[in-house]
């Protein structure tokens, strides 16, 4: 029982990171209909950015390095939109996916060339102490992670509800042509979505760098776990992305704890397949009626 609770806490903490990546993905998908295969690679890019900004030679305080690294996410997302998404507006679904797959090839290669294949160590400034609550060991970093993720989701929800651009984004996601007709600048909506989507990926990457104490190329594999998360939650559901991420994290922790740590990244995909079999529209997605 203690072990189960322990694993659940770890799973929720890592899962909330996946939830952030998935949230960024869903946001872009809803607003622009681009299935961004490179979302996980953007997450990795964020983690590597942090190692550069936090390097001793720059002499930045740790918190400033983190803030700056998060901030670089927005311009990178905008650049990504200009290079990979904008030339493809109006193209059918398949070429767009392929372009983002090409983007993933490029980002991975650039990261390897720029930062090298070796792990880069990074010393976190977050509290790493562990305390015990009736036998269950809880790392305070896990709590920090959950808090940051919850904060991001709350901010995001407020942004969606309270700002004009948030309203425009919801409108564009609901019905793109109607949004254009009512005078919404869909291009700006797309830019903002890419900016926020990438920012969220960067936040996730930076939390992962802090959690692991090192940044390595294996992060690209972790980034792909956003896909089981979005399928479980529903491709077009914002709350679904977060819930899906947490489910993936918990599944991963349970597989690792009770079966085989080596299998924890792979077997999660069995859940994806099962979901496609039973409820392809996900837990929160809308059931599509298409008879072809």
């Amino acid at each position: 029982m203690t072990k189960l609770i322990q694993l659940l806490i770890i799973g929720i903490a890592t899962g909330s990171i996946y939830g952030l990546i998935a949230l960024g993905f869903v946001l872009v998908y809803k607003a622009t209909r681009v299935f961004n295969f490179a979302q996980g690679d953007l997450m990795m890019l964020g983690a590597y950015m942090l190692t550069t900004l936090a390097a001793h030679s720059l002499g930045l305080p740790a918190w400033l390095a983190i803030v700056l690294a998060v901030a670089t996410g927005a311009p990178i997302g905008l650049a990504f939109q200009y290079v990979f998404a904008r030339p493809l507006i109006g193209q059918p679904f398949l070429p767009v996916v392929m372009a983002t797959i090409g983007a993933s090839l490029i980002i991975q290669a650039v990261v390897l060339i720029a930062w090298g294949p070796l792990d880069i160590s990074y010393s976190t400034q977050f509290p790493q102490d562990v305390f015990r609550v009736s036998g269950v060991r809880i790392s305070s970093f896990d709590l920090v992670t959950i808090a940051i993720a919850a904060g991001c989701v709350a901010l995001f929800a407020l942004f969606f509800r309270l700002t004009t651009i948030g309203l425009q984004m919801r409108a564009a996601a609901e019905h793109n042509e109607a949004a254009i007709l009512s005078g919404i600048n869909v291009h700006r909506v797309s830019l903002v979505s890419w900016g926020i989507g990438t920012l969220l990926a960067f936040v996730a990457g930076i939390i992962l760098a802090n959690a692991q104490g090192a940044v390595s190329f294996s992060l690209s594999g972790l980034g792909l776990l956003a896909f089981p998360a979005v399928v479980i939650g529903g491709l077009e559901s914002v709350p679904g992305a977060v819930v899906g991420g947490v489910i993936v994290g918990v599944l991963q922790a349970l597989i690792g704890g009770y079966y085989d740590p080596l299998a924890q990244n792979s077997l999660v995909y069995a859940a994806l397949l099962l979901m496609l079999l039973v409820r392809p529209y996900g837990l929160f997605g809308q059931r599509e009626i298409r008879r072809v």
Binding site: L88, P95, I101, S104, L105, Y269, L273, V292
Partner: protein, 371 residues
């Protein structure tokens, strides 16, 4: 001006080679591919010596791997280019092929030792079955879900492979020590392998070409272009999709068995998602829905990294640093080039290099009436 090749008889229209020009092309290409291994192996062209750089550092192994990849890409193009479904499962299917080859190929004491051709066919059958199981649910709903289903197939297969490898063979990988033999003819040299693989590629290309000329094959294209219209025309869309996925998985997995056997060893590191992505790059750059394009794409896949290295070696006289940089990051630089090419092709020439070639040809044929 020539607008098209017209036939007056239906039988002529059905022929594979319809014009004299394509007959000449076919003859020249056949001669070239048959003679190629001698050029690459002996570094000489009709008696004239060629330097390593003139051949872009090509060697027999690379030539053979390229042929294997070509067949895998033909399988993927049948699915993506002709049926309009995207799969990222090629590396996973290759891993499955290696598992079947290791199980049936007498690599482990006490396990069955089946003749090589049977192993290859069995691998193909396993691939078709796995493809149907994984693809079935997703093919019924929407195209993108196949991407996600094959992504999970990739990770599950690679994990299964790792489990299989570490349980029975250890961390070093699976060794295929017995030389493959084809009806008593041992494939023990690279040149023999080349002709065998060339045969495989020819069979795959011809079979696909012929499949696309049948009712079934035209249904693939109809489903790609407009699923709703296709179903109105009496095509069972889910069934066509599953058929296409099964045929494509058959070819890819059969080649996975050949690949493992040709390399002589298979380990988990061979089957990365990057490999699967490179297959997608091959068919997008070469041309979706074009067999010529698939061949061009596979050629580029092998030649770009080689050319990079060869050029950097030639340029090392000017700047010695280049050679080292390119040698260190050869794969990465090639991947960046592939990524950029994918984007350029999608934006400027959606039918890939094959489409570009057709455009150039049309320009010359219709000259000066080209607009």
């Amino acid at each position: 001006m020539t607008t098209a090749t017209y036939e007056t008889r239906y039988r002529r229209q059905q022929r594979l080679i319809r014009t004299r020009a394509s007959a000449v092309w076919a003859a020249v290409l056949t001669a070239v591919v048959l003679y190629l291994p001698w050029v690459v192996f002996h570094h000489s062209l009709l008696g004239a010596h060629l330097t390593k750089h003139m051949l872009l550092n090509m060697n027999m192994t690379q030539l053979n791997v390229m042929l294997i990849v070509l067949v895998g890409a033909v399988g993927l193009n049948l699915l993506t280019g002709y049926t309009g479904l995207i799969s990222i499962g090629n590396a996973g299917f290759f891993a499955l092929g290696a598992i079947v080859a290791a199980t049936l190929g007498g690599t482990h004491p006490g396990w069955p030792d089946v003749p090589f051709p049977v192993v290859v066919l069995a691998a193909g059958a396993a691939g078709a079955a796995a493809g149907a199981v994984v693809g079935l649910p997703s093919l019924r709903i929407r195209g993108i879900y196949l991407l996600l289903a094959t992504l999970s197939l990739h990770f599950l297969m690679v994990w299964l492979f790792l489990k299989f490898q570490t349980t029975y063979f250890g961390f070093g990988g699976i060794q295929f020590l017995k030389p493959a033999s084809l009806f008593g003819y041992a494939l023990n040299t690279d040149i023999r392998w080349y002709y065998f693989l060339l045969g495989c590629a020819a069979v795959a290309l011809l079979l696909t070409k012929n499949l696309l000329r049948t009712r079934q094959g035209r249904a693939f294209v109809a489903v790609r272009d407009h699923p709703i219209a296709a179903s109105m025309a009496g095509i069972n869309v889910p069934r066509i999709r599953v058929t296409s996925f099964a045929v494509s998985s058959f070819m890819i997995t059969a080649m996975g068995a050949v690949y493992a056997w040709y390399l002589g060893a298979a380990s988990q590191d061979n089957y990365t998602l990057l490999l699967a992505i490179q297959f997608i790059a091959i068919i997008v750059i070469g041309g979706e829905g074009s067999l010529v394009g698939t061949v061009l794409g596979a050629l580029l896949w092998q030649l770009i990294p080689n050319a990079l290295l060869a050029f950097s070696e030639m340029a090392s006289g000017i700047s010695p640093g280049i050679r080292h940089t390119v040698a260190t990051w050869q794969t990465q630089i090639a991947n960046i080039i592939f990524g950029v090419l994918i984007l350029l092709v999608i934006v400027f020439s959606p039918s890939g290099l094959a489409g570009l070639w057709a455009k150039v040809k049309r320009t010359f044929v219709n000259w000066p009436y080209t607009g």
